[in-house]
C-alpha cells in the first residue's frame, strides 16, 4: 500500500503543452513525412449557386495554367466506379445521395464540383478560377418552410419529397394532453444554425505505398471511424487503409468520420501516383463543414397557476441542409431528452427532418441535446411568466427529486443518478439570486436604460452513449517497459481535451509510474484498430475507465510473474505504488520492480471496458445580462454554473471543458448565427461576417463544484465535454428576455441580436416602428 496521496482529482498540468506552446502542434498541414515528399496540392472548384443543373464544365483553360497536373470532375469519378453515398441510416430517404463531386446538380453553395491538382499550393488557387461551370439555375429551397411546402420544388427530384425522415408519431398526439391545465403557452422558437468553426479548418494528406496501401493523415475525432468513412466512400478494403490522426485543432463534433473532399484527396493521390495535400480556406470551412443545430421547435407547455407543470409538447423541424448527414438524426436525441430534468406527467414530441439547398447539418457540441434543453427551459420560463410565478420557483416545484437508482423517462432515457434541485440551489446561492432580483427591481423602478436580466437553466444530458453492440464500450492497452516507462494505447482521440495527461494519471495511480514516463498513443489505425473516438463526452467514462481497467489487469499479470520471481504465493505479495514494485507481505526487502517483470516477456494488457449504459450529467446555470433598451444590445455580465459530471479526475481540465462549453453555448444565445438569403446564398461565410465569439464578449465564468458519482464506471465519472454548451444557451437567452420582460416581451429568438431585442421591445410597447 502506498502512503502517497492520490494523483486523481488533482490539478496536474498538461504534459502535452510544451510542444503546443513552443514549436506548435503538428496539425495535418504541418505533417512532414517522407511518404509525403513531393506532394501535389488539391483545390476544389465549388458551386457558387445554391441549386442548379450543371450544363457544362470546361476545364481546358485550367489545364493550361502553370503547374496544373490534372482536373477531375464527377465524370472521372464515375468512370473510376465511385458512386454517390446514400444517407447513413436506413430510415432516411435513400434517394438523397451525396456525390463526391457534384455531377448533374449542385445543391448548396460550396458543394465541390471539380478538383484541381497542382504542383504548388498557390497555383491551385489561381487555377480553380479558370474552371468554367455552366449553371442552369433552379429555385433554391432556402428554408425548412419552403422544403415542407414544396413551393420551391424538390432538392432531390427523384426523392419525391423533401422529407428525409421522421421520429415519433404526430398522428398519435393526444388531444387531451393539456386537459386540466389552467395555463397553457405555446411558442414557435428557433434553435438557429451555427458554425462549429474549429480553429483548424479541414485538411488532409494522402500517400499510397508501393504495397498498394493508403496512408492518410486526416484531422478527426476517431481514426477508426474516419477509416470506415474513407473505405466506404472509395470502396477500399479495410486492410488497405491506414489513417493517422495528427494533432487536431478543435473539432466540436464536426470532424467525425471523413468528408467527400478527403475521399477525393485520397483518390487523386492514387490516380496521379504521388502524395497529395489539401487544406481548405476558412471561407470554404464556413461554406462546407457541416453546421450545427438548425431546428425550429413549436413548444407548448401547460400546468396549474401555482407553477406546477402538467404537460409539454415539442414539435421539431430539423434542417438537414442539402444532404442528410448526422443532422437528420439529431431530433431523435432531442426527443430522447424531451422532459430534461423535470417531472412532467404528460409529454410528447415528434420531428420531421427536411433537406434544403444549404450546407449540410451535422453534430455540434451537444448534438441534439442542447436543442432539447433550450426548448424545455424556454418553455419553463414561458410558463413561469404566464403563471406569474418566479422561474426559480417553477423549477423548484417541477425538478425531479434526487434519485440514486436509475430513473427511466417516458422517452426511454435511463438517467443513472441525479440531484437537480441541489444543483439549482447551489447556482442560485453562488449567483446571489435574491440580490440580483433586488438590483433588477431597482433598475426597473428607475427606468434605467440598462436593464438587468437573470436567466436560469436546469439541464440533464446524455453522455457516453452506446454504438457498438453490448453497451457503450471502449478499449485501452497498457504496456510497461523494462526501462520503467509505459505506453498507453486508447481508442479515444483527443483534440484539446488532454487525454495524454489524464490517461497517464490513471495509469500512474495504479502502477506508480510517474506521468512523465507514460506515453499515450491514439489515432493510428495500424496501432489501434478499434475505437469509438472522442465525442458525445464519452472519453473519460469509457476510454479512461478502460485504461484504468487495463492497468489493474496488468498488475494481475505482473503479480503472477512477481510471485514466480520471488518464490512466493501471489496472494502473499503487495504492490507498492510508491516504488512501483511488488514485495512479500511483511518483508519489504524482498521485492521486485514492476519494470523488471517486463524484461523476459512483454508486459501488456488490452482491455475493453463496457458500461451498463450512458450517463446523465446535469447542472444549473445562472446568466446575468445587461440589455440596453435603447439599442437592444446585450452585455453578458456573469455566468454562474453548477455542472455535475460525477467524479472529477483533473479539475484544471474539467474546468477548461466547462469554460469552453459555456462560451460556445452563450455565443449561440446572443451572437452566432449562420444566415442565408432567400436564394440560398450564404451571408456569413467568412470570419468577417460570422460573429465568432471574441474575448471582449464574455466575462470570466463563475464555476461551482458539485460531484455526484455515477455507479456506471469505477471512476464515478460522467462526461463534461458538452455540459457547458447545453446549460449556457437557455440561461443566457432566458436572461435577455427576462431583462425586458417587464416591458411585455415574452420571447426573443436566438441569437438575441440588438435588432431582434430592439424590435421585441418596440413590438411589445405597441409602437408601429418595428
Amino acid at each position: 500500500m502506498s502512503m502517497r496521496g492520490s494523483i486523481l482529482g488533482t490539478r496536474v498540468l498538461r504534459t502535452e503543452d510544451p510542444g503546443f506552446l513552443s514549436t506548435g502542434g503538428v496539425y495535418a498541414e504541418d505533417v512532414q513525412d517522407e511518404r509525403l515528399a513531393g506532394a501535389c496540392y488539391v483545390h476544389f472548384v465549388r458551386s457558387t449557386v445554391a441549386h442548379a443543373k450543371i450544363s457544362g464544365i470546361d476545364v481546358s483553360a485550367a489545364l493550361e495554367a502553370p503547374g496544373v497536373l490534372a482536373v477531375y470532375t464527377a465524370r472521372d469519378l464515375a468512370d473510376a466506379g465511385l458512386k454517390p453515398l446514400p444517407p447513413m441510416m436506413p430510415n432516411m430517404n435513400q434517394a438523397m445521395k451525396q456525390p463526391l463531386l457534384a455531377g448533374d446538380v449542385v445543391r448548396f453553395v460550396g458543394e465541390p464540383v471539380a478538383a484541381v491538382v497542382t504542383e504548388e499550393m498557390y497555383q491551385g488557387e489561381d487555377a480553380i478560377e479558370l474552371v468554367d461551370v455552366d449553371y442552369d439555375i433552379l429555385p433554391a429551397v432556402a428554408t425548412m418552410h419552403q422544403a415542407l411546402s414544396g413551393e420551391r420544388g424538390l432538392v432531390f427530384a427523384d426523392a419525391g419529397t423533401n422529407v428525409v425522415c421522421t421520429f415519433g408519431d404526430a398522428s398519435a398526439s393526444s388531444p387531451d394532453l393539456f386537459d386540466g391545465c389552467e395555463v397553457v403557452v405555446s411558442e414557435v422558437i428557433q434553435n438557429q444554425r451555427v458554425a462549429p468553426a474549429p480553429m483548424e479548418s479541414r485538411s488532409g494528406a494522402a500517400a499510397w505505398g508501393e504495397d498498394g496501401r493508403l496512408t492518410a493523415w486526416i484531422p478527426n475525432q476517431g481514426a477508426q471511424g474516419t477509416k470506415g468513412a474513407i473505405t466506404g466512400m472509395l470502396g477500399l478494403k479495410p486492410e488497405d487503409v491506414r489513417i493517422i490522426t495528427p494533432d487536431v485543432g478543435g473539432a466540436f463534433g464536426a470532424k467525425f468520420g471523413a468528408d467527400t473532399e478527403h475521399a477525393v484527396l485520397c483518390w487523386v493521390a492514387r490516380q496521379l501516383g504521388r502524395p497529395a495535400r489539401w487544406s481548405e480556406t476558412r471561407n470554404e470551412n464556413l461554406l462546407v463543414m457541416p453546421h450545427g443545430r438548425a431546428q425550429e421547435q413549436k413548444i407548448t407547455i401547460g400546468g396549474t397557476k401555482d407553477g406546477t407543470v402538467l404537460a409539454y409538447r415539442i414539435e421539431i423541424t430539423q434542417d438537414c441542409g442539402a444532404y442528410p448527414k448526422a443532422g437528420a438524426f439529431l431530433p431523435s436525441l432531442t426527443r430522447l431528452m424531451t422532459p430534461g430534468p423535470y417531472h412532467i406527467p404528460r409529454a410528447e414530441s415528434w420531428s420531421t427532418s427536411v433537406v434544403t439547398n444549404t450546407t449540410p447539418v451535422g453534430a455540434y457540441r451537444g448534438a441534439g441535446r442542447p436543442e432539447a434543453a433550450a426548448a424545455v427551459d424556454r418553455a419553463i420560463d414561458l410558463f413561469a411568466d404566464a403563471a406569474g410565478v418566479d422561474p426559480a420557483d417553477v423549477r423548484r416545484k417541477n425538478l425531479l427529486p434526487k434519485f440514486t437508482e436509475p430513473h427511466t423517462t417516458a422517452f426511454g432515457a435511463k438517467y443513472d443518478s441525479g440531484d437537480y434541485a441541489t444543483a439549482l440551489e447551489k447556482a442560485l446561492a453562488a449567483a446571489d439570486y435574491p440580490g440580483l432580483l433586488a438590483e433588477q427591481a431597482k433598475r426597473r423602478a428607475s427606468g434605467d436604460p440598462l436593464q438587468l436580466g437573470i436567466g436560469l437553466s436546469s439541464y440533464v444530458e446524455i453522455t457516453g452513449p452506446g454504438g457498438e453492440a453490448g453497451g457503450p464500450n471502449e478499449n485501452g492497452t497498457v504496456e510497461v517497459h523494462p526501462d520503467g516507462t509505459a505506453t498507453v494505447l486508447t481508442g479515444t482521440s483527443p483534440h484539446g481535451q488532454g487525454h495524454q495527461t489524464v490517461w497517464a494519471m490513471l495509469v500512474s495511480e495504479e502502477l506508480g509510474i510517474p506521468i512523465e514516463k507514460i506515453t499515450v498513443k491514439w489515432g493510428d489505425t495500424d496501432l489501434v484498430p478499434k475505437g469509438g473516438g472522442t465525442g458525445g463526452s464519452r472519453s473519460l467514462q469509457l476510454g479512461g475507465a478502460a485504461v484504468q481497467q487495463a492497468s489493474r489487469e496488468l498488475l494481475d499479470v505482473a503479480r503472477e510473474r512477481a510471485a514466480a520471481a520471488l518464490e512466493a504465493a501471489p496472494a502473499d505479495l503487495v504492490f507498492d505504488t510508491e516504488t512501483s514494485a511488488f514485495s512479500v507481505k511483511g518483508d519489504p526487502d524482498v521485492s521486485v520492480p514492476l519494470s523488471s517483470l517486463a524484461e523476459s516477456e512483454r508486459l501488456f494488457v488490452r482491455s475493453v471496458f463496457t458500461a451498463p449504459g450512458p450517463t446523465f450529467p446535469f447542472g444549473s446555470h445562472v446568466a446575468v445580462v445587461e440589455v440596453d433598451t435603447e439599442t437592444g444590445k446585450v452585455f453578458l455580465r456573469r455566468v454562474v454554473t453548477v455542472d455535475d459530471a460525477g467524479t472529477v479526475m483533473n479539475p484544471l481540465l474539467a474546468e477548461g471543458q466547462r469554460h469552453g462549453g459555456i462560451a460556445q453555448g452563450a455565443a449561440q444565445a446572443f451572437l452566432e448565427e449562420v444566415v442565408y438569403d432567400d436564394d440560398g446564398n450564404p451571408l456569413t461565410a467568412t470570419f468577417a461576417d460570422y460573429p465568432f465569439l471574441s474575448a471582449t464578449e464574455v466575462p470570466s465564468f463563475e464555476l461551482v463544484d458539485m460531484e455526484t458519482p455515477t455507479s456506471y464506471n469505477p471512476l464515478g465519472a460522467k462526461g463534461i465535454g458538452e455540459a457547458g454548451s447545453i446549460g449556457a444557451t437557455p440561461a443566457v437567452q432566458n436572461a435577455v428576455i427576462d431583462a425586458v420582460s417587464h416591458l411585455g416581451v415574452t420571447h426573443i429568438d436566438m441569437p438575441t441580436s440588438p435588432q431582434r431585442v430592439w424590435r421585441a421591445i418596440v413590438a411589445a410597447s405597441g409602437s408601429k416602428e418595428a
Binding site: S22, G24, G249, A663, S700
Partner: protein, 167 residues
C-alpha cells in the same frame, strides 16, 4: 522572384521569394517554422500572429517582401536556447490557457506584444488586447488568467492581484 533579407528569431535570413508570398507561408514553408497557423482568410482570427519589429502582426496579411529588412519573432523564438519557455508561454501552461493548441502560438505572441505595451493590464484590457485572436476551446477564461499571471510574474509580482472570480 524578389530577394528579401530579414532576421527571424535572431537569425539572419536571405531568400528569393514570389512577391505575393505571404509572410506566414514564408515562415511555414520556406523556413519550416510552423507554430504560426492560418485560421482564416480575413485577418480576423489571429492564429498567424507573429512579432514584426517587436509588434504583433497577423502574418497572413503581411507579404514576405514587406518583412524585408525587419525582424520577425515567432513562438519558436520565445524559447530560450536551454529550452526554457518565456513567462507568457509558461503562464499559458500553468493556467491551462490552451486546449487544442491551434490558436495558441498566435495567442502567445499577441499576449507577449500586449504585455510589452501594457505591463500591468486589467482583465478588461487583456480582453480588449486579445479581441483579434480567436479561440474556440477555452472560452478565453484561462487565457485571460494566464496573461494576468504572466504580467504579475514579469513585473516581479508587484502588480495588484486580480480578484479571483472562479470558485
Amino acid at each position: 522572384m524578389t530577394e528579401i533579407k530579414l532576421t527571424v528569431n535572431g537569425t539572419a535570413r536571405s531568400d528569393e521569394v514570389e512577391p505575393r508570398l505571404l509572410l506566414v507561408h514564408y515562415l511555414r514553408e520556406n523556413l519550416g517554422l510552423r507554430a504560426a497557423n492560418v485560421g482564416c482568410d480575413t485577418t480576423s482570427c489571429g492564429a498567424c500572429t507573429v512579432l514584426l519589429d517587436g509588434e504583433s502582426v497577423k502574418s497572413c496579411t503581411v507579404l514576405a517582401v514587406q518583412a524585408n529588412g525587419r525582424s520577425v519573432t515567432t513562438a519558436e523564438g520565445l524559447v530560450a536556447e536551454d529550452g526554457t519557455m518565456s513567462a507568457v508561454q509558461q503562464a499559458f501552461r500553468e493556467h491551462h490557457g490552451l486546449q487544442c493548441g491551434f490558436c495558441t502560438p498566435g495567442m502567445v505572441m499577441a499576449s507577449t506584444s500586449l504585455l510589452a505595451e501594457n505591463p500591468h493590464p486589467t482583465e478588461q484590457e487583456v480582453r480588449e488586447g486579445l479581441e483579434g485572436n480567436f479561440c474556440r476551446c477555452t472560452g478565453y477564461h484561462n487565457i485571460v488568467r494566464a496573461v494576468l499571471a504572466a504580467a504579475d510574474k514579469l513585473s516581479g509580482g508587484s502588480a495588484p492581484a486580480e480578484p479571483e472570480v472562479t470558485a
